[in-house]
């Protein structure tokens, strides 16, 4: 059993592109083992917040730290799954190679793969069910298979913070269930998971839910944050009971 420590912290954080703020006044205090679901429509700011936590976008105002450092400063300990990982048709890479790239943060430019790296890759492949097509070129895989491959890449880093932007997009029901099981297992070993999703059902098992609509509509435990009034304000309709 791990002792919970603060992993992601922000105060009055504003995120956006260039000089354009998309969401402001974000206060986060996430602990190890937490699952935070970011929920909102397209353009609500979910991906922008994740990119800021990953360090690919600069915070526009306020303060933010991930594992006590600036976002992007600890690549070995933080892994990020973008919304639509690019799978170019020209890339001559097998699914296994794509998963192994998750270890590059540990390997840097020169270090050679060790047993630890190889085990991390094969473990991620097994957990995501990608073994059956691991030797096939990425360009020959279906959208769902590619999504599982990219998720395996993120897991192979064995990070302490996972930033997942719609990891279940393009997956069937069994794939979605498998992702939920993976997230639960990661949390059990003390990993903080920040998950962007459209799907309200993904939020039920979360420690906290942040409803976004170019501002923070609500942030708190699922039962509290997902009230009819908040959901209506965020999506323009009420969830069926």
């Amino acid at each position: 059993m791990h002792t919970p420590t603060c992993t992601v912290k922000s105060e009055s954080l504003a995120v956006g592109y260039g000089h354009h703020t998309i969401v402001g006044d974000i206060d986060l205090h996430l602990m190890s083992g937490d699952l935070v679901a970011l929920i909102g429509t397209n353009g609500s700011g979910k991906s922008t917040l994740l990119k800021t936590l990953a360090g690919t976008l600069t915070a526009l105002a306020g303060s933010v730290s991930v594992l006590g450092a600036a976002p992007g400063a600890l690549p070995k300990r933080v892994a990020y799954l973008p919304q639509h990982p690019v799978s170019s048709h020209t890339l001559p890479l097998r699914a296994h190679d794509v998963v192994a790239m998750g270890r590059y943060a540990h390997l840097g430019l020169f270090r050679r793969e060790t047993t630890v790296d190889r085990n991390a890759v094969s473990d991620a492949i097994t957990r995501t069910g990608t073994a059956e097509f691991a030797n096939q070129p990425l360009r020959q895989l279906s959208g769902g298979q590619q999504q599982r491959t990219h998720l395996a890449q993120v897991l192979s880093r064995q990070a302490e913070v996972l930033l997942l932007d719609e990891p279940t997009a393009g997956l069937d029901i069994s794939g979605k269930r498998a992702v939920a099981d993976i997230i639960a297992a990661e949390r059990a070993r003390g990993v903080t998971v920040v998950l962007a999703t459209h799907d309200l059902s993904d939020a039920k098992s979360a420690t906290a839910v942040m409803l976004l609509a170019q501002r923070v509509v609500a942030f708190g435990p699922p039962t509290q944050a997902l009230s009819d009034a908040n959901v209506r304000e965020c999506f323009g309709f009420t969830q069926p009971h």
């Binding site: 990953a54 992007g72 690549p75 933080v78 170019s88 020209t90 590059y104 020169f110």
Partner: protein, 277 residues
């Protein structure tokens, strides 16, 4: 003739390494711009009687700076701005060359190369460029491959994207400078892109893609030189034409193979279903 073959094989090898990353990262247009942008430097060097390689290197540095500034700051789309920059440089090259008494000969040599006029010094330059490009690509292989998928992936894996992008441009510039003597600035893009693109169609791994590109480039050098010798054709043009023709043949074969594979998959599913019943 042996010297010409050696020079074209060195061009094929250096282009195979750089071309692989150019194709993977989608930098063909930038590669073309760099190749055309070296023309004024070579022209000025010829006029002043100094080494063309030196002039090309200075011009390439100017082009790289221009491309980097445009990519970061331009309010126009970068392909428009880079296109204008390289056409401007090409025009400047033509203006400078027009001051030469042997205008037509000079501009033809710059644009289309003079493979049969390659000197031992040129071969040394090319060998040095191959070593530098090979070592740099070996060191930067991981960030280069990550950037081929997504810049964000490279950044979140701890690699500086601006640094490695600039390094890739430097490698393209070195390749262009090392190759222009053999195939010319206008045709070097063919050697840079066509063998690597053929490799991308056939390979399942980046290293295999590079090896295929090297094999295609070397084969095209041999066939192109042979054809040019027997039929009295331009050597550089013949080699590049063979490279592009080989790519065309490979693309057709790869497309037929992909269609067959797609046809086989439903058959396999049907077979499995029947087996279960």
């Amino acid at each position: 003739m042996r010297q010409a073959l050696l020079a074209s094989v060195l061009v094929a090898l250096v282009c195979a390494v750089t071309g692989t990353y150019v194709v993977l990262r989608g930098l063909s247009f930038v590669g073309d711009a760099l190749a055309h942008g070296v023309v004024p430097g070579i022209a000025a060097a010829l006029l002043l009687g100094v080494s063309g390689v030196f002039g090309a290197a200075v011009s390439a540095a100017v082009m790289m700076t221009g491309i980097t500034v445009i990519t970061r700051k331009s309010r126009l789309s970068s392909d428009t701005a880079i296109g204008l920059l390289f056409v401007g440089m090409l025009a400047l090259g033509v203006i400078i060359t027009s001051r030469s008494r042997t205008f037509v000969g000079d501009i033809t040599r710059i644009l289309f190369g003079e493979l049969l006029g390659v000197t031992p010094t040129d071969l040394w330059w090319q060998s040095g460029a191959l070593v530098v490009v090979g070592v740099a690509a070996f060191i930067a292989h991981r960030p280069f491959v990550l950037m081929s998928i997504d810049d964000g992936l490279a950044r979140t894996s701890g690699f500086s994207v601006p640094f490695f992008h600039s390094l890739m441009l430097v490698l393209v510039a070195i390749t262009v400078v090392a190759s222009f003597q053999s195939v010319g600035t206008l045709l070097v893009l063919g050697m840079l892109v066509a063998p690597a693109a053929s490799g991308a169609l056939l390979a399942r791994r980046v290293s295999t893609m590079m090896l295929i590109a090297a094999a295609y480039g070397t084969a095209a050098s041999y066939i192109g030189l042979l054809v040019s010798y027997h039929y009295n054709l331009a050597a550089g043009g013949s080699i590049v034409f063979v490279t592009v023709a080989l790519f065309g043949i490979t693309a057709v074969i790869a497309s037929i193979a992909a269609r067959r594979r797609e046809d086989e998959i439903p058959h396999q599913h049907e077979h499995q279903r029947e087996h279960r019943h």
